[in-house]
Each structure stands twice: as structure tokens, then as C-alpha cells.
């Protein structure tokens, strides 16, 4: 969910960054000088990236991007450019370099770590875009001024573009800025880091903060950075004193708690980055593979670790001991209604952000035990029906991305002899074949005065993982 905080310019955060800079000033003069050095040497390689909605011609979101791979590519957050992934004909990614507006294409994305690699686009010379946008003509000039080999290359490319009218990325000329080096190794805890970005679009900013290790109890690794990261800084680099990228700004929890994607994830993504712009289908396929891998490894890990058996009063249940699962629980003796309820549940933290209305890659399970010794049986089950009728899928999406749920319903007795009304529902993804959202809801129907609801959802799983989890979960409840 943390990505939500970063929905660029979406929320008005207090301008913590100003206060932070002011507070640091008198304390650490030396560090500040370092910040000045870092900023001076690399500010030309960090840019504000805008997502332009073509219909209105105005920006729909903002973020930060920086040059990597010797300046050939730009790296930013996936959530900054997610709109372009799903509706490429509606949006354009744009950076402004020295007063020239350049258009970028998405080369590769990593939805699990929230990263994207972009490349500069060379639109066809005779396209409408080219005539409307004079910068394209200008942009060819610096390329021509560069080394002769590159010049001939670019000319060749321009020619081929003229012939095929296809869009291909062109390596930007070196004077756009130098690419950042990546530092996949994590620094010592407490090391001073410098985060670059353009918070709220108010101007390029360097923020100083400290490395505080990896965020604990997370399935996806993230760096805990104690510094003010604000909306708009998403996708900006965080550097060490040697100006190497340690992480990419991704989210904030407010109060100087920032989160970074480790540089090794970016390094891995750069290895996978293709040389040409992928088609939308290819992009979807790689996203599907990432989500599938993410959920499959979650499910595999969850099933590989033995579940801890515990009792909810008279019924035995199990829960996973994995630390990356966020768990909660509550119980209540209601004196007026003479009922006793216990609830417990766990979930895998934030879902993977795919676009503003669509997320996936999430798992959760939940138990609710209700006991009403003085009630007629009919009332208890009526109560349980009301308690369990509001459940929905944990992840959200729209008709553009998801199909409708289909359900199987049965009165099921498990190997432990517990009888339950089990509903198991699945919906498929439109863009990602072989991915499903699984919804499981079971309520025991064998005791007169006691009942247990057990429920889980898996978002973005393949059939094998879904079936493995179902096979495991359906057997858990056992009356003592």
C-alpha cells in the first residue's frame, strides 16, 4: 500500500524536506559540502519525468528519473509510468532537458520492485508528432555533433526509420548527462545517503538522510532510508558519498521514514532490458511472469514452512510463522449478547501496484470464531451469514483488467472431520493469461453453538500455486 502514498502529487504532504534541510545545516557542515559535491557532479543526470495525457495535453503525473547504463537508459519507478503501460495511446512520457522536451519509451518494467527502464524515443520524421514537436529536429543535432561512429549510426537509424516508420530507441548523446553507477552492495547502517528528486514539482532537490538497513519483515526487499522522501521524488536515485546509486526512491511512511528499492534490483532489471521497445503484449507477458513468480514464491515459501497449530477456543487452526506476514488478532466477550468471538488474520503487506485502480500479487487469510452458547442454532448461523457476507477480494481491479468471479460451492468435510460450507471463487486476468485471483470462504456447519469462518484470498497466482494453497488450507480446521 505504500506505493499509494507516493501516487505522485496525489497527496499534500507537509513540506518536511525543507525542515529537514534546515535542521541538518548547522549540524553537519562537512556532510553538507559532500551533498553539494554530489549534487554538482550529477544533477545533470537526474530529470523530472512527466506523464502527459495526450487528449488534454497536460501532465497527469510527475516523478523523477535518472540516467543509467552509461546514459543509454533512464530509470524510474514503475508506478510513475504505469498509466503509459496500460494505455499507451493515451499517454506520453516526457522529460525536459535543457529546454527541450524529449519523449521516452518503456523498455522494461519490474512491477515487484516498482522499477522501470526508459529509453529516448525517435519518432518518425514525417509523423504528425514530429511536425508538431520541433524538439525532435533539434534533438538530432546534438547526435550529429558527436563522434563519427555514432553519427553514422544515427543517420543509418534515421534512414531505417524513414523506411519502416517504426519507433526505435536511440542512445542519447553524452551531453545529456552521464549515467549513474550502481552500488548493489548495501552500505553500513548509519551511512549518510543523498536522495535526489523533484518533490511536488518544485525543483530538483537533494535530501540528506541515513541508511538504516533493509526494512524488516518484508517479502520484497526495500531499504529503510531515514530522510524526507516526498511525492514527485519517486524514481529518483539515492546516492552514497561516492555518487553511486544505492537505491531508488519509492515510497514514504511520513516522518522521515522513506523506502528505497535496492540498487541490485535495478541492476538485475538492466541485465534483462531489451535493446528495442517491447510491444504491449511483450510488456504484459513480462509483467505476468513477474507477478506469477512473486506469488508463486510467496505461496511456496508459505507452504514450505510448517504452519503453527493453535486453538481458537474449541477449534484447532494453523497459521504461518513467516515473518513477512503481517498478522493481527482480536477477541471479545460480549456480555449483552452472551457471545464470544475471536478473529485472527495475516496478510503479505502491500499489494503490487499495477495502476491506479488495479493491484495484485497479494495473499491474506483470516479466521473468525463465534460462539453463542445461549442462542438458538438458527440465530448463530444467521449471525455468521451476516458476518461473512461482506467479504470481497483483497485486490481491486476494473473490467478492463479482470474477468468476473466464478464460484464452486459445496458442503465439504475435510480430513480432520470438520464439515463446512465452502465457496471457492476464481477470476482470471485479461492481460495476464494463467493468472488468477482466488477467493476462499468456508464456514463450519457442524456445531450447534459454535462456528468458524476461515477465508483467504490470493491475488495474481497461477493454477499450481492456487491449488497447492487450497489443498493445504481446506484441511486446517479441526474441532477439539
Amino acid at each position: 500500500m505504500l506505493q499509494r502514498y507516493m501516487s505522485i502529487l496525489g497527496r499534500a504532504f507537509i513540506n518536511v524536506c525543507f525542515m529537514a534541510v534546515l535542521a541538518i545545516k548547522p549540524l553537519c557542515g562537512n556532510a553538507l559540502e559532500q551533498a553539494v559535491d554530489v549534487y554538482a557532479s550529477y544533477n545533470a543526470s537526474v530529470f523530472q519525468v512527466r506523464i502527459i495525457e495526450l487528449g488534454s495535453g497536460s501532465q497527469s503525473s510527475l516523478g523523477t528519473a535518472f540516467l543509467v547504463a552509461d546514459g543509454r537508459f533512464m530509470a524510474t519507478n514503475y508506478h510513475v509510468v504505469s498509466a503509459k503501460v496500460f494505455e499507451p495511446e493515451k499517454y506520453r512520457i516526457e522529460v525536459e532537458i535543457k529546454g527541450e522536451k524529449l519523449t521516452l519509451d518503456i523498455l522494461a518494467v519490474d512491477v515487484v520492485n516498482d522499477l522501470a527502464v526508459l529509453a529516448f524515443q525517435m519518432p518518425p520524421i514525417n509523423s504528425a508528432l514530429a511536425t508538431d514537436q520541433p524538439f525532435v529536429v533539434k534533438q538530432t543535432e546534438p547526435i550529429k555533433q558527436t563522434e563519427s561512429i555514432k553519427q553514422t549510426e544515427s543517420i543509418k537509424q534515421t534512414e531505417s526509420i524513414k523506411q519502416t516508420e517504426s519507433i526505435k530507441p536511440i542512445p542519447p548523446s553524452p551531453n545529456l548527462g552521464k549515467g549513474f553507477k550502481l552500488q548493489p552492495k548495501l552500505p553500513e547502517k548509519g551511512t549518510t545517503l543523498y536522495s535526489f528528486g523533484n518533490p511536488h514539482g518544485i525543483g530538483m532537490t537533494v535530501v540528506e538522510g541515513n541508511f538504516n538497513g533493509l526494512v524488516e519483515h518484508r517479502f520484497v526487499e526495500q531499504i529503510h532510508f531515514s530522510g524526507a522522501i516526498n511525492p514527485g521524488m519517486s524514481g529518483g536515485p539515492t546516492l552514497d558519498a561516492q555518487s553511486a546509486v544505492v537505491g531508488v526512491n519509492v515510497a514514504t511512511a511520513g516522518n522521515q521514514i522513506g523506502f528505497l528499492v535496492p540498487a541490485k534490483a535495478l541492476a538485475a532489471l538492466l541485465v534483462r532490458t531489451p535493446d528495442s521497445v517491447p510491444t504491449q503484449a511483450q510488456l504484459y507477458a513480462s509483467m505476468a511472469e513477474q507477478i506469477e513468480h512473486h506469488t508463486s514464491s510467496m505461496v511456496t515459501e508459505a507452504l514450505a514452512t510448517p504452519w503453527k497449530i493453535s486453538n481458537l477456543k474449541d477449534i484447532q487452526i494453523s497459521s504461518s510463522p513467516l515473518t513477512w506476514l503481517e498478522c493481527w488478532g482480536d477477541s471479545e466477550h460480549d456480555k449483552k449478547t452472551k457471545t464470544y468471538t475471536i478473529s485472527r488474520g495475516c496478510h503479505s503487506g502491500g499489494a503490487l501496484f499495477l495502476n491506479q485502480e488495479f493491484n495484485s500479487g497479494f495473499m491474506e487469510y483470516e479466521y473468525l470464531y463465534v460462539e453463542a452458547p445461549t442462542w438458538p442454532s438458527i440465530s448463530l448461523y444467521d449471525f455468521m451469514a451476516k458476518q461473512t457476507s461482506q467479504a470481497g477480494p483483497a485486490n481491486k481491479g476494473t473490467k478492463k483488467e479482470l474477468g468476473h468471479f466464478s464460484c464452486n460451492e459445496s458442503e465439504v468435510i475435510n480430513s480432520q472431520g470438520t464439515k463446512a460450507r465452502v465457496s471457492y471463487c476464481l477470476r482470471a486476468y485479461k492481460q495476464f493469461p494463467n493468472l488468477y485471483d482466488a477467493f476462499y470462504m468456508a464456514v463450519t456447519t457442524d456445531k450447534k453453538q459454535q462456528s468458524l469462518m476461515s477465508h483467504y484470498t490470493l491475488a495474481g497466482v497461477n493454477q499450481v500455486s492456487a491449488q497447492a494453497f487450497l489443498t493445504h488450507f481446506v484441511e486446517l480446521a479441526k474441532w477439539l
Partner: protein, 325 residues
């Protein structure tokens, strides 16, 4: 022999009878006629009806009327009469806008119908005690339903108070429809409407009790939601229809159909709503009803079978995506 003229309305109900002790009679607006009609579309002397003493044949004669004479036989198609025509006892003659059923006086009439049990009951005993019993039943059932929903003894007083609303509703609707009947026909009976209201509310409560059981055993949430709405709509519609019928005796068919539009519209919007909800991809159509183990007769399957059955569900879910494109 004599001829009997029955004045009927367009629904076929008798409005009045006139027995003429003669073998021939004249129909028209004029005061010298045997059967005088108050109808601007009828000539002063419009038609003549002749009964043959020997054969018993009935003949009608159009006396060169402006709007003619139409015969609607009990068997066969209706036709215009040109000049004269024979017809059967019991056929309908349309004179102007007035409808007359013409009989010979020896026309065979079926014997009296037996009183229905309900009628006998209602007349043997006074209906008021029946109504009171039903009202008490409704009151108690309402309390029971509230109690079953949240069985807290301390709240019984509150539930009893809430059941008072149902009782109030019965009296309100009785008064409402009774007033309509009195205004329209001058003979609205309060007790008829009170009985109707109390009976239908009782049925509604009982249906409400049975529906979860039905839903659970049908194991089809979408259908049960529709059933629920249908039950509400149908009972509401039935209530309005019966009340209207009792209040108006259906003499004003147009009014009735306009009134029927309301429950009908209600049912249609409810159906549209329930289908519209299923269009949302975040809506999970799983079975939501639950019933007590003692009345649960669903077939139980082992979990391994259930898991095995879900393989088809993946194909079904994939098909859902393909079909919606």
C-alpha cells in the same frame, strides 16, 4: 313466453336485468320503446327483437339505425347485422355503445354453486375474531423473527415495540383501501382489507423464514437474490392487486393497471439492480446464506473431491474473460 334483457358492462358483468312479457320488443332511446337506453349513440328506435312462439327462435332486426347493430354470439365471431338475423339465447347485442345479453325466459341456468369453505367459515363465525387471531400471530411472529436475529432476552421489549409497526401497517392499509373502496363504490369493507393485509404480511414473514433454507440448498446465491426480490415484489404486487380488486371490483380496469405499474416497476428495477451488481468484477457471487445444522440436508463431499472439482473452475474463469471482451 318472455324475453329477458341483461345489461352488461364491457367486462361482461351484469349491471341490470329487464324481463319483457311479450314476444317482440323494441330497443331505442325513445320513450315509446320497450327497452329504453340512455346512450347518445342509439337511435330513438334502433332495433327490434322477435321471439317465435312455436320454434323459440330469436331474431333481431336493425331498424335502419345510424350506427348499426352488432351481434357477439357466445360461440363464433362477432358480426354486423344487416337487416335481420337469428341468434341464440345468451348472445350479446351491441346497440350503440350499450351491450345487451338477450335470453329466452326458459334459458337454462346452472344450479346454485356451493359456498366455498372460506366463505362458510367467514359467515358461520364472525371474521373479527379471525382477524384478531391472525393479528396476534403476526405480532408474535414478528417478535420471534427479531429475536432469532439477535437472541437477547433484554431486547424483547424493544422487539415487541417494533412489531407494533407491523400492526400499525395492517390498520393503516385497511383504512387506506377501505376509504378508496368507499369513495369509488360506496361499499368498502374495512375488515376485508385488514384481513388481506394481515394475511399477506404473515406470508411475507414466513417466506422470509424459509428463504435462507431454500437459498442454502439451491446453493446459487445469484438466483436466491433474485428469488428474494421476486418474493418481495410479487407479494407487494399481490397485495396491491387484491386490495384494488376488493376495493373497486375491477370496475376501473385502467386505474387498476396504472396502480399495477408501481409494483411492476419495483420488481423490474430490483431485478436490474441485482444483475447490475453482478457486472462489477469485484463482486464475488459466493453463497452467503447459512442455516442451522439440524435442518441442513445438503450433500457433503470430502475435501479431496472438492479440490479436484476446482480444476474446471480455472477454465470457467478464463472463459469469463474471453466472453466479456
Amino acid at each position: 313466453m318472455a324475453i329477458v334483457v341483461e345489461f352488461i358492462n364491457r367486462a361482461g358483468h351484469a349491471l341490470a336485468f329487464q324481463r319483457v312479457e311479450a314476444n317482440r320488443l323494441l330497443i331505442g332511446r325513445g320513450f315509446n320503446q320497450t327497452v329504453i337506453l340512455e346512450d347518445d349513440y342509439v337511435d330513438p328506435s334502433h332495433a327490434e327483437i322477435v321471439l317465435d312462439e312455436q320454434t323459440g327462435d330469436l331474431t333481431c332486426v336493425d331498424l335502419a339505425s345510424a350506427n348499426g347493430l352488432i351481434l357477439e354470439p357466445a360461440i363464433g365471431k362477432k358480426r354486423d347485422i344487416v337487416g335481420a338475423a337469428k341468434f341464440m339465447s345468451g348472445d350479446i347485442l351491441v346497440v350503440g355503445r350499450t351491450r345487451l345479453k338477450i335470453f329466452r325466459d326458459n334459458h337454462v341456468v346452472p344450479p346454485a354453486r356451493k359456498f366455498s369453505l372460506g366463505y362458510q367459515f367467514a359467515h358461520k363465525y364472525s371474521v373479527w375474531p379471525v382477524f384478531v387471531v391472525l393479528l396476534i400471530a403476526l405480532f408474535l411472529l414478528d417478535i420471534l423473527v427479531s429475536y432469532l436475529q439477535m437472541p437477547v432476552a433484554e431486547s424483547l421489549k424493544l422487539y415487541a415495540l417494533q412489531s407494533g409497526y407491523a400492526v400499525l401497517l395492517v390498520f393503516f392499509s385497511g383504512a387506506f383501501w377501505g376509504l378508496i373502496g368507499r369513495t369509488l363504490r360506496g361499499d368498502g369493507r374495512l375488515i376485508t382489507h385488514l384481513l388481506m393485509a394481515v394475511t399477506l404480511l404473515l406470508i411475507a414473514q414466513l417466506v422470509g423464514l424459509v428463504l435462507p433454507w431454500l437459498t442454502y440448498h439451491l446453493a446459487w446465491q445469484a438466483l436466491s437474490e433474485v428469488l428474494n426480490r421476486l418474493a418481495v415484489g410479487l407479494l407487494g404486487g399481490l397485495f396491491v392487486f387484491l386490495s384494488l380488486r376488493a376495493a373497486t371490483k375491477m370496475r376501473r380496469v385502467q386505474t387498476v393497471s396504472v396502480a399495477a405499474l408501481i409494483p411492476l416497476g419495483l420488481i423490474i428495477t430490483l431485478l436490474i439492480n441485482s444483475f447490475g451488481q453482478q457486472d462489477n468484477v469485484n463482486h464475488v457471487p459466493y453463497l452467503k446464506a447459512l442455516i442451522a445444522p439440524s435442518v441442513n440436508v445438503r450433500i457433503v463431499i470430502p475435501s479431496s473431491v472438492f479440490v479436484g472439482d476446482t480444476h474446471d473452475l480455472f477454465q470457467k474463469a478464463t472463459k469469463n474473460v474471453d466472453s466479456s471482451d
